[in-house]
């Protein structure tokens, strides 16, 4: 008997591990609302500082290279520019003021005011290790009141949704991920549909209305239906529409409004939509709930 057990030990171990992984996949697919195991949270917690430690020096060297070494050709011009330094210093104060009242900072301030929901800034410290999934690693976690199911955005539009958290880190699934689906509408015609991630850099808009209600160049925004994202957030612009009129379900390619290749800082909306609140329950993510007010409603 013991000889038999010794012989089948390896196949048995292989089968047990394989079945275990398959069971995990089934559980992870079916139970989206469940927070991940403590071991997963621990590894996520470890991932943020490690990835930050790797990326920061490289980013620093890259920035230094771009700022200084790549400018070596301009060395001759530096002599002439030195004369202007005094004048530039005088203007410096004015520039700082201009910077605050214009550009990205102003948009961010407006965005925070529009939603009347606390927006938590978070640094992007890593991306998905697997090329098959599209997610970001953020340096804010449960200690900053970040919970699974909270929307992530920047001033350009929707980035995605927090999918896992640990004490000081969080993983956000981008809307580009194949598993992402956002209820959306065309801003011009109010035609509603579903924006799905394709796993690449593009999105697909599925809709059932007449084809001419959706045209190239139309802005796609969140509809607020589905209770995950607030209404009126920008998703992208229609790039092409499928011409087949015989099909009931039409599709259109959408170019995301967010430049996902240049994400450095994002904002986590510290409020879960009603659907997410139902899915996750109140216990884990109880946060002060301001009355949800959307951009469209305010205007």
């Amino acid at each position: 008997m013991s000889e038999f057990l010794r012989r089948i030990r390896l196949p048995l171990l292989f089968a047990a591990l394989l079945l275990g992984t398959l069971a995990l996949m089934l559980r992870d697919r079916g139970d989206a609302a469940e927070e991940r195991h403590w071991a997963a949270r621990a590894l996520l917690e470890l991932a943020a500082p490690v990835q930050k430690a790797i990326t920061r020096p490289i980013l620093f060297v890259r920035e230094t290279w771009e700022r200084y070494v790549a400018l070596v050709d301009l060395h001759a011009e530096n002599e002439a520019l030195r004369a202007e330094v005094a004048r530039l210093e005088e203007e410096n104060l004015q520039y700082r003021e201009a910077l605050v009242t214009s550009g990205q900072l102003r948009r961010i301030v407006e965005m925070r005011r529009d939603f009347e929901v606390p927006l938590l800034p978070a640094d992007v410290v890593g991306e998905d290790a697997s090329p098959w999934a599209r997610s970001l690693l953020l340096d804010r976690g449960r200690s900053s009141d970040v919970r699974s199911g909270m929307p992530v955005m920047i001033d350009q539009g929707v980035v995605g949704l927090v999918s896992a958290t640990s004490l000081h880190a969080a993983r956000a699934m981008m809307i580009l991920d194949r598993r992402s689906a956002v209820d959306a509408m065309i801003q011009r015609s109010r035609a509603r549909g579903l924006v799905r991630g394709l796993g690449t850099g593009e999105l697909e808009f599925e809709f059932m209305v007449r084809g001419d209600d959706v045209g190239v160049g139309d802005e796609v925004i969140t509809s607020g239906v589905g209770g995950v994202y607030p209404k009126g957030l920008r998703i992208g612009t229609i790039r092409s529409v499928s011409a087949d009129r015989s099909e009931l379900l039409h599709t259109a390619r959408v170019e995301p409004s967010v430049d996902f290749g240049r994400l450095e800082q994002v904002f986590v909306m510290l409020r879960r939509g009603p659907t997410m609140e139902l899915l996750f329950g109140g216990g884990d993510g109880d946060l002060p709930e301001p009355e949800p007010k959307t951009v469209a409603e305010r205007r």
Binding site: L13, R29, A39, A47, L137
Partner: protein, 178 residues
Amino acid sequence: MKPPVALTALGLLAALVQGALAYLAPAHLVPDLSLLVTLAAALVLGPAAGLVVAATVGLGADMVSGTLLGQLACLRLLDLVLTRGIAGQLDLRRGLPLAVFAFALVWIDGFGQAGLSLLFLGEFPLRAGELVTLGIRAAVTAPLAPLVGALARRVCERLDESEARREMRLETRRAVLR
């Protein structure tokens, strides 16, 4: 006992490094380091320890990635079994065969991922564009296979040596039986 633990730690570190590199460069230009550690584990560890290391490394990669929990773990197990099967036929200790096999393994792993996605999410994510990026990823990963293999072998040898040395020291303190 130490080499499997060391290779597991190396595999988890590889998954974290991979995530950081993916932030700095396009994902298809980032080598699949955790796959290479699994490949190395298949060559330097025994079958039982190799299976446990492969499953743990895969599960760790799942945890720091957005894939289904268990997806990469399942694939790493299959990768390990395949590598051990091929290592019985070919000499994968040499650099070139190992690199060629790693190139093929990235492709197999990619199709495995796509197959599991079809099975569990109902979509086969490999289209023409993805095949090109998979090819680039395989080309970037393959040359690193001999390096990771050598590193894993060196780590295991060092740990085995230190364990043997400690046993020898203990041996000398034993009472001599006459």
